[in-house]
Every structure is written in C-alpha cells, then in structure tokens.
Symmetry: C2
Subunit: 197 residues, 2 copies
Amino acid sequence: MSAERVERRLAAILAADVAGYSRLIGLDEAGTLARLNALRRELIDPQVAVHKGRIVKTTGDGILIAFPSVVEAVACALAVQTGMALHTATIPEDRRIEFRVGINTGDVIVEDGDIHGDGVNVAARLEALAESGGICVSAIVHGQVEGRLDCVFEDIGAQSLKNHRPPVQVPDRRPAPGYGARRGCRVQARRGQGASQ
Amino acid sequence: MSAERVERRLAAILAADVAGYSRLIGLDEAGTLARLNALRRELIDPQVAVHKGRIVKTTGDGILIAFPSVVEAVACALAVQTGMALHTATIPEDRRIEFRVGINTGDVIVEDGDIHGDGVNVAARLEALAESGGICVSAIVHGQVEGRLDCVFEDIGAQSLKNHRPPVQVPDRRPAPGYGARRGCRVQARRGQGASQ
C-alpha cells in the first residue's frame, strides 16, 4: 500500500489499433505494412511530437502513446483521425487503413519506459469501443476536454469493461464516486461552423 | 480553441489553508507565524519532497502544491494531516493550527511557474468543504486512489461549487459525463488494522 514502492505519474493514455488488421494483411501484406510505415512517418509521429506525446510501444497493429495533458492527447487523436480521413478518401474501402482510438487519463505506473495499470487497461478497452476511424474517451477525459477543443461528444453511457477492477458498475442511476471512468464518449471533430451536430 | 496556445499539463493539485487563521493571528501573531514556519520546515516541506510535489505558491494562510501523481498527492496529505494531529495533541484546542486540504486532478495551465484553470479552482473549493484537520477530494481523485492507499473515503455527494464552469450540476440521478469532478469525498487514514469501517 506504500506509494513509494513504484513510480506513479499522471498521464493521458492513447491506445490505438488498426481496424481489420488481419484482413488487410491477408489482402496485401507488404503493401499494408508499407502504408502503415508511411502513415507513421508522415502523419502520426509528427502529430505526436506536436502534441508532446511519447510513443511507449507498438505492436503489430497497435500503438500506445502517453501525453502529459488530456487536451493534447485528444487534439492529437483528432488531428490524426482527420488526417487519416483525407489520406484514405481515394483508396478502395476494403483496403483502407482505419484506426480506432481510445483515450483515458489517470495515474500510471512507470517502469523502464513502459507504463502499466488500470488507466492503461481502460484506454485499451475504450479503443475496442471506438468505431473505425473514431475516437472513444472516458468520462474523465470528456470532462477535461469539453469546451477546450472544437469537437463534439456523444455519450455512450456506462460501459462494462471486461476484466476490470473495481468490479464493473451496472448502469444504474446512482453512480458511485469514480464511476465516471467507466462512462464513455465518442468524439468527432466539428466540420465547419454551420454544421448541425 | 487551439491546444498550442497554452501549456497544459496533468497534475494533482493540493490546496490547503489554516482553519481559523485570523482568529489564531488575533490570539498570538508572532507565535502563530513561528509555529507555521516550524510546521513548514519540519513536516510539510519534507513530506512534499518525499512525494515529489512542487510548492507553487503560498499566501498568508494558504498553500498550493502540484504533484505529478494523484496517489502521491493524497499520500502526502495523509502524512501531513496525521503528523499534524500528533504535533498539536498537547496544544490547547483554541490555539491549535489545523489545516483543511482539498485535492483535485486535471489538466492545468502552466505559466511562469504558476498554475491556473478549472482544476485549480475546484481544488480550492474542495478545501473549503474539508473539516479542520481533514481532507476533501474530488470523485476523480477518489477513483484514482481507492485501493492504492490505506485510507477510507466518505462520499459527501454532489457539491455545488460556486462560480464554477461548466454550470454546476444539480444532484439529480442522471449525471452527465464529467459530473464526477463535482462529487466530493472526505478522506481519513485508517487507524490500526482492527478498526471497524
């Protein structure tokens, strides 16, 4: 229970993966990997740098990024997803690379450059709730960002996140404190000032 | 709306003041200030250092401290309040220095070493809700700390925090996302393993 045993640090955690990665690899392995590398180099890495993020690790189709600010994390995700939409508009739908992004915030445990803990796990679960090309954030992230970035939030209500401790809240109407973390919002950039919703 | 205009950074914000400061100064100005200085030197500053906090500013009876981790901020507050209770046990009640502590977390705006923003304001409001010798935290802090420190939380429900943007939530049973920030918890260190509750 001692706070001294591990290094804890507040971070905004962005987890992303490629929707339908195995299918894309099956269709065109070399081409998909080359396009992913180009997207990293031309879009993702520059945006992560602009928003002061740190790429913690990558897997085949996934990436985990830590930001020192929640607003910067969501701004980065919006920039990448908007950039991706432009990037892939001319590519046949079944060959499009589309990311799903989940963002959470909280104390994480830092160890040899890697990050661990509940806050990271929830980011990964939120990623799985995001639509292709979309962003899903926790209610805590929503509360930090609303009114500070030009985007809209769609409340998707209380979510059951599997293997999650503390035990998942049922979506009743008397939330326990801390319940907010398990509430999700989908996020979209506003498109033009006159756009409705 | 650009995220680049200001430097935002996640922090746990601890705001504390001395309960009944004017009364104590009225009773014994020099003695109260000398005792406050001794408490800073012997108790507060060492605990802030151990928990990696940074003292942002002090006012006559107040102090604002930023921590890089929520768990560290609450651990520091518990250590200080426990230390204070030992320190003041032999002092007549009307001359006791007692702190009220509020803790919140979120993105803050960093400018010339000072911190600003909603997250800071909420910490100050929570401080005002704390009892003398007590700690009051936001629901977001509670969610981050529960199970990670040896303390108990008492839910004090949704709180109306004046001058607060976004408009203060009425405590209905259908919380909007982000509502959690306006929910408070009082925190107490557990006293001995056999203690009930």
